[in-house]
């Protein structure tokens, strides 16, 4: 979707606004409210989650910022100019217009792609934060027994065995809960989606 949208926007740069950034400049920050889509025309942009983890390097012809334009949620990563960068900023309404007119693009499909892209970025973001999400998921997955979805946990012992603080363990459980993978009850975890849990265990 990203490549097709970039291709569709490339001939339309006169509808956007040109911006130039010096090396090292922040283009947008994770958590920002912003709905513009940016098409890189020169230089290298790094997408970063957390404090320092690069998740992608983008160059001329690449697009960034399309998640927020399509779902209205905050930016999922920060964009930094790794070299001097030039880009063109398109408004969200221009981008939606382009999607509607393009035979190669479909708004519903684009939004689905964005949703899965967000999930992927969020997972990487959590990994960066040092939370034991993957370890926790593996441990829980190993204790799943057939259809039985309840896993009793002793938070103190689990934290010790994962070599993390109870606070980190609680945040990791919260993260799994936030993603809809588990529900939390006193002294136990209810696995809502075993496949998702195994996917997190594999990906983290």
């Amino acid at each position: 979707m990203r490549e097709q949208l970039a291709t569709a926007l490339a001939p339309l740069t006169d509808r956007g606004v040109r911006r130039r950034y010096r090396e090292g400049a922040l283009i947008f920050a994770e958590g920002d409210r912003g709905s513009e889509v940016l098409l890189v025309t020169d230089g290298v942009v790094h997408l970063v989650v957390g404090s320092d983890r690069d998740i992608a390097a983008l160059g001329p012809g690449d697009l960034l910022g399309e998640f927020a334009a399509l779902d209205g949620r905050p930016r999922s990563a920060s964009a930094h100019a790794r070299t001097a960068v030039e880009l063109v900023a398109f408004s969200a309404s221009d981008v939606l217009d382009v999607i509607e007119r393009s035979p190669d693009l479909d708004l519903a499909a684009s939004r689905t792609t964005v949703a899965s892209g967000r999930r992927h970025t969020e997972m990487r973001s959590v990994a960066v934060g040092g939370l034991p999400v993957g370890q926790l998921a593996r441990r829980l997955a190993a204790r799943l027994d057939g259809d039985h979805r309840m896993v009793d946990i002793d938070a103190g012992a689990l934290a010790t065995s994962l070599e993390v603080s109870r606070e980190q363990l609680a945040r990791a459980l919260d993260e799994l809960h936030h993603r809809g993978v588990v529900a939390l009850e006193r002294g136990r975890v209810v696995v809502l989606d075993a496949d998702d849990l195994r996917r997190v265990a594999d990906e983290e």
Partner: protein, 383 residues
């Protein structure tokens, strides 16, 4: 940790020395000096321009000149006042976006080199009468998180600002940007949000080979009213971090901040007198307390009840009940607080003195010159 203010010993002594003067505002310049020094320390790399409009007392402005402050001025009158007490014109910024052409011409003659604008019309005046000056365009901010969000009277949308600044540069003016996050701003992140917009604008100017030379962070730092506030070094570290993050690594050559309220509000304590206590109905427990000071004698900021002064009485542990506070004039708008929950002693009587804290900002000159025959606010300055 949150900050509270008290009436200083010097202010108490001054009230005691003038028992018959009421209402009386006592401004303690030691408080202003401390605030200035705290702010300079909290914002390294950022120049402090005191917003003279907040309190133009000559002794106060003179002291800030000596401390090395620069000044945000709103009119030729304020420019001349600052120059008269020794502020060099290069330490002035004409921050009003509404200026007569004659005022721009006169300011330029007096050596002022920084000007705010937000429209084509104002830009034309700067091009004609202040060539080569630093022209900073004010952009609109959302004001979210402020006790007194500013209206849309000042500023323009960023896309308009871009075109105006490109036009300014074409005419040899040096482009800058200003914004104001809203007066009495409780949320330090407000500056970060505004700076994100500034960063976009800066990148758009750079794409046209135009360098942004000045970023004006405006005012908005709070005074201490009913709500306690965070210490200024916390605001400072958040703002400095936001500047580095949004505009680094190559920061603009000049960055400035325009505090008014923050520097002077807590320096002013006002003593006033209860004129009348009235019960309006047998079923309403609210008493109406009429003071000898009101909206027309220096407390105009109670408008919309956004600025909420702390009200103190003598004597501790007196049982209290709810009151409506009003001023002494025959004008129905002269009500200080009707919806905010103020409590005063149940035995409060006419003739008792009350103390209002943090009345140093937007009070001395916000007083009418004789509405209903009442004189302007009486002020003592402790240098």
């Amino acid at each position: 940790m949150l900050c509270r203010v008290t009436i200083t010993e010097r202010q108490r002594s001054c009230f005691a020395a003038h028992p018959d003067r009421s209402p009386l505002l006592v401004v303690d310049l030691d408080v202003v000096r401390q605030r200035y020094e705290d702010l300079v320390a909290a914002l390294p790399g950022v120049t402090v321009f005191y917003a003279v409009k907040a309190n133009p007392l000559p002794e106060l402005v003179s002291m800030l000149v000596e401390l090395g402050s620069s000044f945000d001025v709103a009119s030729i009158g304020e420019i001349e006042q600052c120059l008269a007490v020794g502020a060099p014109p290069e330490r002035l910024s004409f921050g009003n976006t509404v200026k007569k052409a004659d005022a721009v011409r006169r300011a330029a003659e007096l050596g002022v080199t920084r000007y705010a604008f937000d429209s084509e019309c104002e830009l034309e005046k700067l091009v004609a009468h202040a060539p080569g000056s630093l022209a900073f365009c004010r952009i609109l901010c959302d004001g979210f998180g402020a006790a007194w969000p500013l209206s849309r009277k000042f500023g323009c949308a960023p896309d308009v600002a871009r075109e105006l600044l490109l036009e300014a540069a074409r005419h040899g003016l040096r482009p800058g940007v200003s914004f104001h996050v809203g007066s009495q701003q409780f949320d330090p992140a407000a500056w970060d949000r505004a700076l994100a917009t500034v960063a976009d604008l800066r990148a758009e100017l750079l794409a046209e080979d135009v360098e942004l030379e000045l970023v004006n962070l405006g005012g908005g730092l709070p005074g201490t009213y009913l709500e306690a506030i965070r210490p200024v070094d916390e605001y400072g570290s958040d703002i400095v971090a936001a500047l580095r993050r949004r505009l680094g690594p190559d920061l603009p050559p000049e960055m400035l901040v325009e505090p008014g309220r923050y520097l002077v509000a807590d320096a002013g304590a006002l003593r006033c007198e209860v004129v009348t206590v009235a019960r309006k109905s047998t079923t309403d427990e609210h008493r109406w307390v009429y003071l000898d000071v009101g909206m027309f004698s220096g407390l105009a900021e109670v408008m919309d009840e956004a600025i909420r002064y702390r009200v103190l009485t003598d004597g501790a542990d007196r049982p209290t009940g709810p009151v409506v506070l009003a001023g002494p004039t025959c004008d129905s708008a002269d009500i200080l607080y009707e919806t905010v929950d103020y409590q005063l002693p149940l035995d409060l009587r006419a003739g008792e003195r009350l103390y209002l804290q943090s009345v140093g900002a937007y009070s001395t000159t916000y007083s009418t010159i004789g509405f209903n025959g009442f004189p302007p606010l009486d002020v003592e300055v402790l240098g």
